[in-house]
């Protein structure tokens, strides 16, 4: 069996687009020139740090029983911030359940993301407000939504691209492959952004593919590229170009962001059951934030004061988020019946009335 043997942490697979080495060296790639101002680099650092802090706080909130579950992005910050910051305002993004970093880039209030994990709603932000769709839990479904949306953009003759996120595991779903077909047949302006974090819960990449995932695109007739997912600059450059191509009528691109899920699958998962500690250790050396920090230090793009300021901003963010999470009210029981239909629906009205009458029998009993 031919298996992709490039999972070893040391060797960056030859096809990997990288602009920043794990040691923080800036390297050039002929296809992906990237010029950033000092402020832009600082901005990326800030993004990475804040979303990591936010994520850690969410994990803590879950441990304390304030959230039912949390899906941590730890380790995947660069993939999310790099791609998220490549988007323009009119571009549209379709996330899975782990794209907290992309949500951040789209201006979604972090606390809004907590709702579904706390169990007070199933999502609940307005996708149109931020051009950031709702989290999707059924693996792969959203790829078709994204392609359909992009077909709408085509029909509107608009200059916008659509990006859709999914994991390595998701590439096995029929829906994802149908999305590839639709996108290629209609030449839809969509970017498929696969965060290959090496694991689908307990299953390693080999259970989903025997060749590097980015090559899947070649079977459908559009370009695929593998980028160092822990390199925020490379993720930014590669995504920017793919989005530009999409807006430009050149159709879809598959980006495989080669990264690693540093935490558990979710807070209910115990990864020690299925993976070895050495793998984690090796990937720690490629940390997306450390690498950018090293680069910035070396090139005097920021001093300790800057880093300290970001850290304290992160703490404030986390405190604020914790506070507002705890304040999040439980929904009213009658909310069960809201927003299921937009037009009047007699059956639901009947059930609602019956339930209200039933609840009223407990009045004073504090139910």
């Amino acid at each position: 069996m031919t298996i992709d043997a490039s999972r070893g942490p040391q060797a960056a697979p030859p096809e990997l687009v990288q602009l920043l080495t794990p040691e923080g060296e800036r390297v050039e790639h002929p296809d992906y020139p990237l010029e950033l101002t000092q402020d832009e680099v600082r901005g990326l650092y800030r993004d990475l740090t804040l979303v990591r802090r936010f994520d850690l706080e969410a994990v803590a909130l879950q441990r304390q029983g304030e959230l039912g579950i949390w899906a941590s992005l730890l380790g995947q910050e660069a993939a999310q911030i790099g791609s998220g910051r490549a988007l323009t305002d009119t571009d549209m993004a379709f996330p899975t359940y782990r794209e907290h970093g992309v949500a951040w880039c789209r201006g979604v209030d972090p606390v809004k993301l907590l709702g579904l994990f706390r169990g007070v709603n199933h999502g609940g932000w307005d996708p149109a407000e931020h051009n950031f769709h709702l989290y999707t839990i059924v693996i792969g479904s959203q790829t078709l939504h994204a392609v359909g949306y992009a077909m709408g953009v085509q029909r509107d003759d608009a200059e916008a691209a659509t990006i859709v996120y999914f994991g390595d595991g998701a590439t096995s779903q029929g829906d994802v492959n149908e999305a590839f077909i639709w996108a290629s047949v209609f030449n839809a302006p969509v970017v498929f952004f696969c965060q290959n974090n090496q694991w689908a819960i307990s299953e390693p990449l080999e259970k989903q593919t025997r060749i590097p995932l980015y090559r899947r695109a070649s079977g459908f007739g559009f370009p695929g590229v593998r980028v160092d997912g822990n390199d925020v600059l490379a993720c930014l450059a590669v995504t920017r170009q793919a989005l530009a191509n999409a807006r430009d009528g050149q159709g879809p691109t598959l980006i495989e962001a080669y990264t690693y899920r540093m935490g558990a699958h979710t807070t209910t998962d115990d990864p020690t059951r299925y993976r070895v500690a050495s793998e984690l250790e090796a990937w720690k050396l490629k940390d997306p934030i450390e690498r950018l920090k090293a680069y910035m230090f070396k090139n005097r793009l920021a001093d300790q004061e800057f880093f300290d300021a970001i850290d304290s901003e992160a703490d404030t963010l986390a405190r604020d988020m914790r506070k507002r999470c705890l304040e999040m009210p439980d929904p009213d029981p009658m909310a069960i019946f809201d927003h299921v239909y937009r037009d009047r629906h007699l059956l639901l009205e009947e059930e609602r009335d019956q339930f209200a009458a039933y609840l009223s029998t407990f009045e004073g009993e504090g139910r």
């Binding site: 709603n121 359909g148 829906d175 809201d338 927003h339 239909y341 937009r342 037009d343 007699l346 059956l347």
Partner: protein, 324 residues
């Protein structure tokens, strides 16, 4: 007033919707150049172009999934599932996404997607071409489920379904596609969720929808010769149900027979029977009886006349009801 077949009536309804609203799209397998295997979309691509009447790749999950995306972008896609038996590859997109996404957004999103499904048997087809999968969808909160039975309703209902801001599963009785009737294209028609008493009667209330409405009407005529007066209600909407119309009738007749092609076991008739029994308990002289398919896969076509409720089986059930 013009005379139209049921398939042509839907065609005209789609045409009207495409004309009235530039956001309306028609999509599915073979709906374009061919005009659909039943010609329901005949001529629409020629007149509205390939961007609005879209021949899709051969994948039902893809059809519904991309329709959802188009709806998120402000379009109103009308999807055709070529035959009832091919809706199942799209089950996930319909049940976990189309039905649930609006709630997920707390109302920020609307998904005005119509899923047209030619349904039912009686046309001598091979396997998977004669299914009646309505119960899978009536049980799924977030969807509206309707079934037309005649050209006039078909013309109005398809337009109402497209105008609805909720997702609608739209069943078309394929063996009635060629039935013709006068259609008043100016008439507003009943609301989409209203049932219609299509024949008044005193002794038994017959509940049907889609292809079985005609069968029940024929049964009512035959029964009349035996001095039995059957009231026939065309449900039109399965979810929501027009319970007022149904209950009013059953309380009057005291008897009710439900007829559908789908297997009886946990079919839509089960809901009708359970619900009616609860709301008309003291009025019922007999249990609500059900006539429908057996709890087997749909049989080969040379057996379908035995599987499908026909005049005899319907009347036999009416007899059973009256014998209580």
């Amino acid at each position: 007033m013009t005379t139209l077949s049921l398939s042509k009536a839907i065609n005209e309804g789609l045409r009207k919707a495409l004309e009235d609203d530039p956001k309306v799209l028609v999509m599915g397998e073979d709906v374009g150049k061919l005009g659909g295997v039943f010609r329901v979309t005949d001529g629409l691509q020629k007149d509205f172009g390939e961007d609005r009447v879209i021949d899709t790749p051969l994948a039902e999950s893809g059809i519904i999934g991309t329709a959802i995306g188009l709806a998120l972008r402000g379009y109103r896609p009308v999807c055709e599932i070529q035959f009832d038996g091919f809706v199942f590859p799209a089950a996930d997109q319909i049940i976990t996404q189309l039905a649930k996404m609006p709630l997920r957004s707390l109302g920020a999103i609307k998904l005005p997607v119509v899923v047209r499904i030619p349904c039912g048997g009686g046309i001598g087809a091979v396997e998977h071409h004669s299914e009646s999968p309505e119960a899978y969808f009536t049980h799924t909160g977030g969807l509206r489920v309707v079934a037309c039975s005649n050209p006039a309703d078909a013309y109005t209902m398809i337009q109402q379904a497209i105008r609805s801001d909720d997702p609608v599963i739209f069943f078309e009785p394929k063996r009635r596609y060629w039935d013709k009737a006068d259609v008043d294209v100016e008439a507003p028609g009943l609301p989409l969720e209203a049932a219609k008493v299509v024949r008044e009667g005193r002794d038994v209330t017959m509940l049907a929808y889609g292809p079985m409405v005609k069968t029940c009407l024929e049964a009512a005529i035959a029964a009349e010769e035996d001095g039995r007066s059957l009231e026939v209600i065309d449900l039109r909407s399965l979810n929501p149900l027009d319970t007022a119309t149904i209950t009013g009738s059953v309380r009057r007749t005291g008897r009710c027979v439900v007829v559908h092609e789908a297997p009886v076991f946990n079919g839509f008739g089960a809901e009708l029977a359970a619900r009616i029994t609860e709301s008309c308990f003291y009025h019922l002289e007999a249990p609500v009886l059900r006539v429908g398919g057996f709890s087997t896969p749909y049989p080969p076509s040379r057996l379908e006349e035995h599987y499908l409720p026909d005049l005899d089986r319907v009347l036999d059930t009416v007899d059973r009801s009256l014998a209580f």
